[in-house]
């Protein structure tokens, strides 16, 4: 079965803007993602090293309550379901390790892990990620959101030169 085409970027952007505005109307804040992974890390810390996690000055606050009982958990679960419906209805669901044609599975997974570590560190330092700070902060016309976006694109172009052979 051949996949359905993607939405044109302008239409996808308008749809994303409407979803973002609806989120502001519903909740008083925008969309996010990395906050869920912070809470998930606190939850994992609670299983693996409860005392160390409780004593940690950053994650300790999260484990005083139930770390995953938060709006963002339901939002990320909703995003997963929404994307799954999109992939299935668009005939784009493919179990795979997606990589560039010249890249092996091993090197792709190592780069995914390194990229994830940098992203986890960066999102905690910036207090948000591309969705929470870039997209939602940008829509609120927050100075912090635009500082983030400018640096995000600058580093993306720079590091893309270094790793482009893995993707092309």
């Amino acid at each position: 079965m051949s996949p359905r085409p993607f939405w044109p970027p302008l239409w996808a952007g308008i749809a994303l803007g409407l979803a973002l505005f609806l989120t502001f109307v519903l909740t008083g804040h925008g969309l996010g993602s990395s906050g869920f992974f912070t809470r998930f890390t606190a939850e994992v810390g609670q299983w693996l090293a409860p005392e160390l996690t409780a004593a940690n000055r950053y994650l300790g606050d999260y484990v005083r309550g139930e770390p995953l009982q938060a709006w963002i958990t339901w939002e990320v679960l909703g995003a997963f379901i929404g994307a799954l419906v999109g992939a299935l209805s668009g005939r784009r669901f493919r179990p795979q390790v997606e990589r560039g044609p010249s890249s092996g599975v091993g090197s792709r997974l190592v780069l995914a892990l390194i990229g994830g570590i940098l992203t986890g560190l960066g999102a905690r330092l910036a207090r948000g990620c591309t969705s929470g700070l870039g997209l939602s902060g940008g829509a609120a016309l927050a100075v912090g959101g635009f500082v983030f976006l400018i640096c995000f694109f600058a580093a993306g172009f720079l590091f893309s030169f270094i790793v482009r052979r893995y993707w092309q």
Partner: protein, 203 residues
């Protein structure tokens, strides 16, 4: 002032998230090849979709305030910590180019069946744990150079909100033109048919 509703319940989260994920997937943002194509300049979808969404939402928020549906200061505006947000942005930009995702798009990638998205997520959990472990030495950077609470571009420049949105729209229009030109030159953007072979035999 009837908005925002300040509804932080399960249904509100599931609905907002569902629309978020559904749009990201249909934009092609589950695919790390398409996403990183932005930084090779051959696929400008990330810029186009994000910039359009920011302008549409900013315009609707401004209109809501104009029509008295929403009060000034009634919704969340992040307070800038200039250095931490700049360094965090650099790290996430690097992580995106290297790993192929950001946090939200990794959820989209996983929902499309990608194992590499799970590995990226494991990396994010490790990165978050490292941040927590190093919070002592990192705290100074984390708290350095705070700006005014909830500082907006209007606060910073004194330019009225409608004019800021207009300037952003003009920049977006320029970016669309430039992006489409480069896409044509470099053989992009990635189409669904390039990324999802019909025979399902890739990998």
């Amino acid at each position: 002032m009837i908005w925002p509703l300040y509804d932080s319940g399960v249904a509100s989260g599931l609905l907002a998230g569902f629309l978020f994920g559904f749009v990201l997937e249909n934009a092609g943002f589950g695919s790390p090849r398409k996403l990183t194509g932005q930084f090779r300049l051959e696929d400008w979808s990330v810029f186009k979709v994000m910039f359009t969404a920011v302008i549409v939402a900013a315009l609707l928020l401004w209109l809501s305030k104009q029509f008295g549906l929403m009060g000034t200061g009634s919704y969340y505006v992040p307070t800038p910590f200039y250095v931490a947000m700049a360094v965090g942005g650099l790290l996430i930009g690097a992580g995106f180019a290297i790993g192929g995702y950001c946090p939200g798009t990794s959820v989209t990638g996983l929902a499309g069946g990608r194992i590499d998205a799970v590995v990226f997520m494991i990396g994010m959990v490790l990165g978050t744990a490292l941040f927590a472990a190093w919070f002592g030495p990192l705290e100074e950077l984390y708290l350095a150079t705070p700006g005014p609470q909830g500082q907006t571009l209007m606060d910073l420049t004194g330019i009225p909100e409608w004019l800021i949105i207009l300037v952003l729209a003009a920049m977006a229009w320029g970016g669309f033109k430039l992006g489409s030109k480069l896409e044509q030159k470099l053989g992009g953007p990635y189409q669904a048919s390039d990324l999802y072979p019909a025979d399902n035999k890739q990998n």
